[in-house]
Symmetry: C2
């Protein structure tokens, strides 16, 4: 099996796992957690896992591997640069709305914010992501950043991108684990304890496994140098901002 076939196999797996993660987190929160609302209730909290998994894991991971798809290499980099920035912006917006859901819910119930390790890792991931997006926009899309700065920024952007994904995996796993312990106390007739592995626990645990496998595949694609987009001319392709490209 040659290297490109392995890429497309991993990329196909990545797409399947993306769909599986989103279905799994939606099914969990619809069927077992009562669905969604925006009213400060438990139903508002349910947006939190759905939006974080969809935004900070699935869309983020897909945005990150975009440049690696060999089918896109024959074309101008500009539209892919804009699609990368747009996917990441959508991912950031979903993540921020996902954080608003949990802050609103906590405030309505007088539960303190940002005390758990899960919340520390999750807020660090989102804050770094926001910094990364602004720095990426200023560095790679605006025309007045000097070329030397772009060359310095690119490896930092690639490295920080992978690190944010690792943070978001750790935040997801700790969050799902915490939620299942909270929800499945087994003190009422309606819920069985987490330790007896009722269907909801199996779905939640499976979501965690899907997220981890998705993240490892994305990181594998990102770290394989032969799957990096070959730049026909490093001067005008990688580091040129869109405005300068358009004015050429």
């Amino acid at each position: 099996m040659n290297s490109m076939m392995i890429f497309y196999l991993l990329y196909f797996l990545c797409l399947c796992l993306s769909v599986a993660c989103v279905i799994c987190v939606c099914v969990w929160n619809s069927l077992w957690r009562g669905g969604f609302a925006w009213d400060g209730s438990q139903l508002e909290f349910n947006w939190h896992p759905v939006l974080m998994v969809t935004g900070l894991v699935v869309l983020y991971g897909n945005g990150a591997v975009l440049y690696r798809i060999p089918l896109t290499w024959g074309y101008d980099k500009l539209p892919w640069k804009l699609l990368h920035a747009a996917l990441m912006l959508l991912s950031l917006i979903l993540s921020v709305v996902g954080l608003c859901a949990v802050f609103n819910y906590h405030n309505a119930k007088n539960i303190p914010n940002l005390y758990s390790l899960h919340s520390w890792i999750g807020i660090a991931a989102t804050a770094l992501f926001a910094i990364q997006w602004v720095a990426g926009f200023a560095g790679f899309l605006l025309p007045w950043t000097p070329l030397s700065m772009r060359k310095l920024l690119k490896p930092v952007h690639v490295w920080l991108g992978g690190s944010i994904l690792i943070l978001s995996i750790a935040a997801s796993i700790s969050g799902i684990n915490e939620k299942l312990f909270f929800a499945l106390k087994g003190q009422t007739n309606e819920t069985q304890p987490y330790s007896s592995l009722p269907p909801e626990a199996l779905v939640g645990n499976s979501l965690g496994v899907l997220i981890v496998v998705f993240g490892l595949i994305v990181l594998r694609i990102l770290s394989t140098s032969e799957w990096q987009r070959p730049d026909s001319s490093p001067e005008d392709q990688t580091y040129a901002p869109i405005l300068r490209e358009e004015s050429d």
Copy 2:
């Protein structure tokens, strides 16, 4: 600042964070969790975080970056290969004893094993680590593995090595988060709730942050190609087993 200076700065940080992680997990379990025993009690459980963090995170990460230290490049690879295998074996043994501690504690208290997402990710990390160690030993230290197999195994070994570290970070964060929620319920006069961030919560959360920063630095060192040990001859250095090297 040149590339080697950056390496040594990151490696120095990696060593400082190693010491900080071990001190932090020991202090947490000694001062706030009552110390250690091997009697099926809560004190036996306390070995679990100490041994997993020391073995599966700190020793594992240090074993992984061993070949990247440029000071070692001028010497024969063999002693470093043996030290790598020995550090990883010690790390694996500590991890397995750390798992025994939690299984014994659960069994003594009639708590089911392996139901939480934390336990699924943690057991997957340890099982993959055991497979990785055996495959690495058979592939790189025994004389009868064909050279073609070694060449095939090396990238898989490097990739799986990084993936196991990511799993162990996710398991650590979810485990510390879960433990702090269990321990700091705030229902007795002795413990304040986790949400009020008492000193124990700050120490536990800080341990999680130290582990994540340590892991990201180790992964950064591993993923930088210019810090890979240059093999003077790929035939005899990278892929030759020790027994063949000794008989040469």
